[in-house]
Symmetry: C2
Subunit: 192 residues, 2 copies
């Protein structure tokens, strides 16, 4: 079920660009509306209540404020964000996997320290966007590498026409999206 306040916001401020890019820089990807994040956090938390989530996993950067808002609404579960670069303070063992970006036409390696994913964990994967599903699939691989379980995948905006949600559901994952976009054509955004 879509989140009305979010859809209204996308309609008002979102910009469709080229072949399938949605720009929501005014509240999600560059400027952040923290009040809206808190509503989004409560909404996503509600969808995964009863799934025995122990930890929230996202990827830098735009997933972080969403993941923190979900954590707050789920009793302050720990958040872990996968890193895209290998910082000099990340020296111990890591789980890593390569993730392709269709929009940027790049491949990046995402990493999580082994100590922050345990076999007993039930991980809720959170992200801002679900497009081709490469990022979310990459995060599920990190969880599997740790021997942990994926409790589900929650995203703010799903671009259904790019196939990621279908791929994740086929792989057996529970996917929840607060706004589902059917198409972006000539700047026109059509929701489901």
């Amino acid at each position: 079920m879509p989140m009305e306040a979010l859809i209204e916001r996308i309609v008002r401020e979102g910009q469709g660009i080229g072949r399938g890019v949605l720009k929501v820089d005014s509240f999600l990807n560059h400027q952040i509306d923290v009040a809206l994040m808190d509503e989004i956090g409560r909404e996503l938390a509600g969808r995964f209540a009863g799934h025995s989530v122990t930890k929230i996993l996202t990827v830098e950067s735009s997933g972080i404020p969403v993941a923190c808002a979900v954590s707050r609404a789920m009793g302050y579960l720990p958040v872990v964000f996968a890193k895209k670069a290998a910082p000099n303070t990340m020296v111990e063992g890591v789980y890593s996997t390569d993730v392709k970006s269709f929009t940027k036409e790049t491949v990046s390696t995402i990493r999580v320290s082994r100590k922050y994913l345990q076999p007993t964990d039930r991980i809720l994967i959170i992200d801002d966007f679900l497009a081709y599903g490469e990022s979310a699939m990459g995060l599920t691989r990190l969880v599997k590498n740790a021997g942990a379980a994926v409790a589900g995948i929650g995203v703010v905006i799903e671009k259904q026409f790019q196939g990621g949600s279908g791929k994740l559901k086929e792989a057996g994952y529970l996917v929840e999206s607060l706004a589902v976009i059917r198409s972006i054509t000539d700047g026109n955004i059509e929701f489901i």
Copy 2:
């Protein structure tokens, strides 16, 4: 005045590495303790109350959860995070400046869309760490380029021995840090 709960946490979980690196991956830079973030947010908000802040500016990635927590404690002020890479959806005019990282020995360009910094803004700059001050100085340059005012600079952890806070205060900025570290030697962290 230092924030006791934060200092206790650094003492318990922080790791001094090499010549001046502090690793706090378990609650700030990789795994995030959102409850602690909220306390940090309230503490930093209190230090800048009465400074007529209109917007919070940080830089991706670890500054984002801190900035969002401060926003929540200041009546949901908008947060803007400067980006380190030029994404394909950031096409319009930007303010940009180069920032050196002493620890990573790299120079990166940080960018903010012009439309999210207005001449009427009074900007509170928020970051996780203040070391040599390169990142914070870079953010002040972006604010100045926009003709906006810097209301102050608030950071979670200041490594005073690396000189950034001194430099920023000399330039006339109000700097508030919740934990101030005098030295890191052979893994031993000494606080002020």
